[in-house]
């Protein structure tokens, strides 16, 4: 097993200044030396960077730096070679193809990390965290991922597990030594208190962790408003200020994200809509239905109203359609005479007057968004789950503990223990302390190429 040497481009494939091609496996140094002109790589020390050329027969492909890292003190615990090429899609691909021609195999998605895991370099939580680093787009999620590598979550969960184990052993001793009247009998009250306290702690992490989806995938933000209200200029101002990518990119949903901005580490995925005007036009109706679906999926809706115009039916429809959503009501064109009368019922909502033309209040708008998602508190030293699998397991464990609390008056103590043990087992799945091959299969499917 794992006899072969794998290779992949480990940086994003773009016209950046430098790209890295990485190999792992026992042949990696000898394969690299076949196409390298410079020092004899097979003789250089471990953890050295070597200057030279990649050559195909006599033709020079690229001027490169080659890092040699010998087993076992490497990421995969195998020999690793990293070739820093001079960027560009074509030369990097040429180096990759040359290595494959000389005996390396194209790595499967997640294979480097899989090897690190299988070779005992990292445990399950760490493996997942690496996956998160690979996928993380912002500093926030990077921090989260790094934090997990240090084993914070693991320690926290281990502590909760230990408390469950303690509780279980207390129940066990009463069962196995019933004749010992001098051993304290665990009371239902005690079980109830401890189970409730553990459940509450889980609840807190679960709640805190819900922001993680937002941190990782961004806030799906819909800008809604009738035509000419200033939607697109707001969009452009938001995007312009952050100098973000304006090209169309695929979002996490089937929608086209018009733009993506980074608000001090929070991603806002801005989505355009067809509006929700009443219409008899069949084609337009389809578009309107789509908009309504989008409203449903959005994490945040920015409703743009024109302060200089009276409230129209369309404005009312928009406000009605988004009344249950997390939303900000933006009153644009505040330099003009106010004609708009906003009903009192909106007074407790987030309302801000802006002027996209004169760029007034764009920054306070962003502050409101940050405030709304309470992302400030993630910066603290909190224990958080880093992905949905962990959150789901925590929820499952929480439910088992709820079962205990719900049945505490009606079943004997050893049956309560079944649910306590369930919670213990489920928490063990988070830290990888139980064995379950489904986790592994699932996990490795989700890895993408390179670290």
């Amino acid at each position: 097993m794992q006899e072969d040497t794998i290779v992949a481009i480990s940086t994003a494939l773009s016209n950046s200044a430098i790209s890295i091609v990485r190999m792992s496996g026992k042949e990696s140094i000898s394969i690299a030396s076949k196409i390298f002109k410079g020092k004899n790589l097979e003789e250089v020390k471990s953890n050295t960077i070597n200057y030279g050329y990649i050559v195909d027969k006599d033709k020079i492909i690229d001027e490169v730096l080659v890092s040699i890292m010998r087993a076992p003190h490497t990421y995969t615990k195998e020999d690793i070679v990293e070739i820093n090429t001079h960027g560009g899609i074509i030369p990097t691909n040429n180096v990759l193809n040359l290595l494959i021609k000389n005996g390396a195999r194209m790595a499967e998605p997640g294979e480097f990390t899989k090897r690190a895991f299988l070779n005992g370099r990292i445990d399950l939580t760490q493996a997942e965290a690496v996956m998160d680093i690979i996928e993380s787009k912002t500093n926030y999620s990077n921090e989260l991922a790094l934090k997990e590598l240090t084993g914070d979550t693991k320690k926290y969960i281990q502590n909760l597990r230990q408390r469950l184990i303690n509780l279980i052993s207390q129940i066990e001793v009463n069962i196995d030594y019933p004749e010992y009247q001098d051993i304290e009998q665990i009371t239902y009250n005690k079980i109830q208190d401890e189970v409730r306290s553990i459940k509450n702690e889980l609840e807190i992490i679960i709640e805190d962790s819900k922001n993680i989806k937002i941190i990782k995938e961004g806030i799906t933000t819909l800008i809604l408003g009738k035509p000419n209200v200033g939607k697109s200029s707001l969009l452009n101002k938001l995007i312009k200020e952050e100098k973000a990518i304006v090209t169309e990119i695929e979002g996490t949903t089937r929608d086209i994200v018009e733009g993506q901005i980074n608000l001090n580490g929070i991603i806002l995925n801005l989505i355009d809509t067809a509006g929700i005007r009443q219409t008899d036009n069949k084609i337009e109706q389809i578009g309107i239905q789509k908009s309504k679906d989008k409203i449903k999926e959005a994490d945040l809706v920015i409703v743009v109203l024109d302060i200089s115009r009276k409230m129209s039916q369309e404005d009312i429809d928009i406000l009605e359609a988004t009344k249950d959503k997390t939303r900000i009501i933006v009153l644009n064109k505040n330099d003009l005479k106010q004609e708009l009368e906003l009903d009192k019922k909106f007074m407790n909502e987030n309302i801000i007057e802006i002027n996209t033309l004169k760029e007034i209040n764009i920054k306070p708008l962003k502050d409101i968004i940050k405030q709304m998602f309470e992302l400030g508190k993630i910066e603290d030293n909190k224990t958080l789950f880093a992905n949905q699998r962990q959150i789901n397991n925590a929820i499952k464990a929480k439910q088992s503990l709820e079962n205990v609390l719900n049945t505490i008056d009606s079943v004997p103590v050893d049956l309560l223990e079944i649910d306590i043990k369930d919670a213990l087992y489920t928490l063990g799945e988070i830290t990888g302390e139980n064995y379950n091959d489904e986790i592994l299969d699932n996990l490795f499917k989700n890895f993408c190429v390179g670290k």
Partner: protein, 620 residues
Amino acid sequence: MKYDIIVVGGGHAGCEAALAAARLKNKTLLITSNIENIADAPCNPSIGGPAKGIVVREIDALGGQMGINTDKSLLQIKMLNTKKGPAVQALRAQIDKITYKKNMQETIKNQENLELKEAMVEDLIIKNNIVIGIKTDKNEEIYSKAVILTTGTYLRGMILAGSDKHPGGPHGEKESKDLSNNLKKLGFNIIRLKTGTPQRIEKSSINFSKAQVEKGDNEIRTFSYDNKAYYNIENQEECYLIYTNEKTHKIIKDHLNESSMYGGFVEGIGPRYCPSIEDKVVRFADKEKHQLFLEPESKFYDDIYLQGFSTSMPHYVQEEMVHSLPGLENAIINKYAYAIEYDAIDPRQLKRSLETKIIENLFTAGQINGTSGYEEAAGQGIIAGINASQKINNKDCLILKRYESYIGVLIDDLVTKGIKDPYRLLTSRAEYRLLLRNDNADLRLTEYGHEIGLINEERYNKFKEKKKLINELINKLKEIKINPTKEVNEKINNSNILKIKDTTSLYNLIKRPEVKIDDLKIFTDLNYEKEIKEEVEIQVKYEGYIEKEEKSAKRQKEAEEKKIPNNIDYNKIKNIASEAREKLNKIRPTTIAQASRISGVNPADISILMIYLKKEASNE
């Protein structure tokens, strides 16, 4: 003279092994150093307890003798943990040591195909790593196809009281001198263990008025599924509860360095679960008192067993200690407490069939495998007897799984994890406790007992009838539905059942915590045996929990079905951690489930192992 199977030792393991072997029509020889001591209970006069009591039920379901023999020899019997759930209830009996021995010896002497011989076995006869017989201390050679060693505490036995230390077995019997050395030469890792037993006190010298009385149950109880009661419920003997006091603790502390344990005279490792009184006083220094039970040993002599007071103090200190106890101020000590050291083998050198990995057709059971307790010994004994027979008759061995029996848990723990101190079975060792109940041992194991040939047709038919009746009653309860009429609600209210709001079946009514199956008599006749009704009540009432455990047991079952080939070469599997490789090589698990239970083998190793096995399979 040639036998099919030789059983060495006549304790609880030896008796079950010999009886199973002989009943399976093998010409069997039971060799023991003293025939009079067959089925002796050298320690406490009780059988059963949490988990252990269920083992006795399992032995009975497989066709063993311990259950019936206990039923025939009762001084007192009770169900433990009745205030807790069905999974952890278990029987415990006080037995008459004389009657117990007599009954078992009678059964053994009357057993067809079973011969007895008095001798000390000191060596095995081995040919090509297969055992073919034994050699006695008189150099007599006896041949057989298989040998079962159930040597108890006799291997290099050493009796300790204070600094006094002399070789011997219980009751001043002779120890076996050479057998453990000879096992060592064959490649067995020998470990040294220790156990102990407390004082026996002259009954007439005790003032029981200061003690709390512990009675037997007011309901007929039996271990055997024969359900025959041999005792009179009114005539059960009483046990008594007393406590140690500050004076006792001071005596112990003052003389601590005179005890064998604390004086450094012991090399064996004692059981964590059964500490000596000096251990308790030292380790739980903040406890003001420890409880002790006074238990009668027999109706034929007057020894009272002082449970909880086991010690290795010299005799004169024991006198002081005993006399510090309430009601025992003038007690006469008939036998002093002593500790005993003995040799055992590392049970990781055994297969799950209890055959040794090194020597073919050699089986071991009981304390030689590192366990403590009569029940644990007997449970292994019957499995060793069955499997020795299966092996020499070219049949598949009986491997009980963890999710179907405590015996399975016990053996799997021993051979997979090994032991550090004498192993005692606890309910917490079982992960699927609710499946391993006292009430359903027969439902779990009778089929095996019948298939192997230890359960006869009469008993088997009775079992099938019981199963039929259980199903019948369950279906009946599902069919009968009651409506929330005023009349019905008045009726159930009179039985202290909460009112119903919707039409409901009797089956669903039982699921309510306040409803007992007999409460339903107001709606239908329930002309079934108590045993049937209890079984149905448990199955219905706890259905949700039972299903939950069955679901997770299924995961283990699937992993048990992933077999690891015998000839696997772990050195060929790259990337397995070296600790895991070493352990896998040593223990050689037979299934992925077993491998995953080895400490030091982590999930990553298991996944590498599984990938390797898949690859190997696809290469073939």
